[in-house]
């Protein structure tokens, strides 16, 4: 199973995402923003960071990178021959997905006007996505969150649509760290192939380097995020 991780200028968590894919048992493949070729990978992770410095708007410039045209084309609505390329956008990657209109809504500046780094409790609400099928419904986990512009925003109709179609993948518990509407931490497209998530599961895949905080369904050693990556291995196979 080959999972590609895109490096944009200013990507930061790309090496961490590659490591997470490896720990999960997949084959990590580095992808370069300036290439249209995605090297035939089975799935793609758009990593965290500050692509192009996050100047203008987060993800706005990265969305026009050559590699994104290919990803947008392959990840688009499913066709008879293809269920759509699975894509996980983490933090800045989530912002790129919204700017690319692969996911609805947008991410705006944190309500408290500060960058925040914390161990964040989440509830996994949708488990029939490529990226969350190894979690149980309503599992409570802890993964790091670190962002300055992580507030998920959309109009009422879009929010109602997301809720109605069960497309909220993860929700913040205990603390809403950035003013996200309806405590939304992550959403998916209709088919569950494309997922955007503000917190960082790739930073909770190795014992000793993840969060110390625990939740009801925590693994106990700070590796609650690993299942995002093991899910993809599973999900791509059965797709």
């Amino acid at each position: 199973m080959r999972i590609g991780v895109v490096t944009f200028p200013g990507s930061l968590d790309d090496r961490d995402a590659l490591r997470a894919v490896r720990i999960a048992g997949g084959t990590p493949v580095s992808l370069w923003h300036g290439d249209e070729d995605i090297k035939g990978v089975d799935a793609v992770v758009l990593p965290g960071g500050f692509s192009y410095g996050d100047y203008l708007r987060c993800g706005a410039i990265a969305r026009f990178a050559p590699v994104m045209s290919e990803i947008i084309r392959l990840a688009g609505p499913p066709t008879q021959t293809s269920p759509g390329l699975p894509v996980l956008g983490i933090c800045n990657g989530f912002q790129v997905l919204c700017e690319s209109h692969l996911l609805p809504g947008a991410l705006i500046r944190n309500e408290q006007q500060q960058f925040i780094c914390r161990d964040q409790k989440l509830r996994i609400e949708r488990t029939d996505t490529v990226w969350t099928n190894r979690y149980g419904k309503d599992d409570e986990i802890v993964v790091p969150l670190k962002n300055g512009e992580g507030g998920f925003a959309a109009d009422q109709a879009t929010l109602d649509m997301l809720e109605g179609e069960g497309r909220v993948v993860a929700r913040y518990l205990d603390v809403n760290p950035n003013g996200s509407f309806r405590d939304i931490a992550g959403i998916s497209n209709a088919t569950g192939t494309v997922v955007g998530l503000m917190p960082h599961p790739e930073h909770a895949t190795e014992a000793g380097y993840g969060p110390e905080a625990q939740a009801a369904n925590s693994t106990g050693d700070g590796t609650d995020g690993l299942a995002f990556f093991t899910s993809a291995l599973q999900g791509v196979l059965s797709a």
Binding site: L56, E99, P104, G179
Partner: protein, 85 residues
């Protein structure tokens, strides 16, 4: 050399955390008469030569594809910069 000014503001119905912070800070400094505040962006683009309608059309296109995100923002103005600006 000409200059185009493009103004982009958060959509009224979308939460504007920066605007909210601005009203709060204004009130704390005693500027209580300002009951609301919104914070957007102002771009200035430079072109060789005159700013004519063709340039303005291109600038609007740039504003709508790159400089604003239609989900959360409106392009409120695209115009030639006046001389004092």
């Amino acid at each position: 050399m000409g200059r185009v000014v493009i103004d982009v503001m958060p959509k009224p119905e979308i939460l504007d955390p920066q605007g909210k912070a601005v009203v709060g800070a204004l009130a704390r400094l005693g500027f209580k008469e300002f009951a609301g505040a919104r914070q957007g962006k102002r771009f200035e683009l430079e072109v060789e030569g005159e700013v004519d309608q063709a340039v303005l059309d291109r600038a609007r296109q740039a504003a709508e594809t790159l400089l604003s995100n239609p989900v959360i923002e409106d392009v409120v103005a695209v115009r030639a910069a006046s001389d004092q600006e």
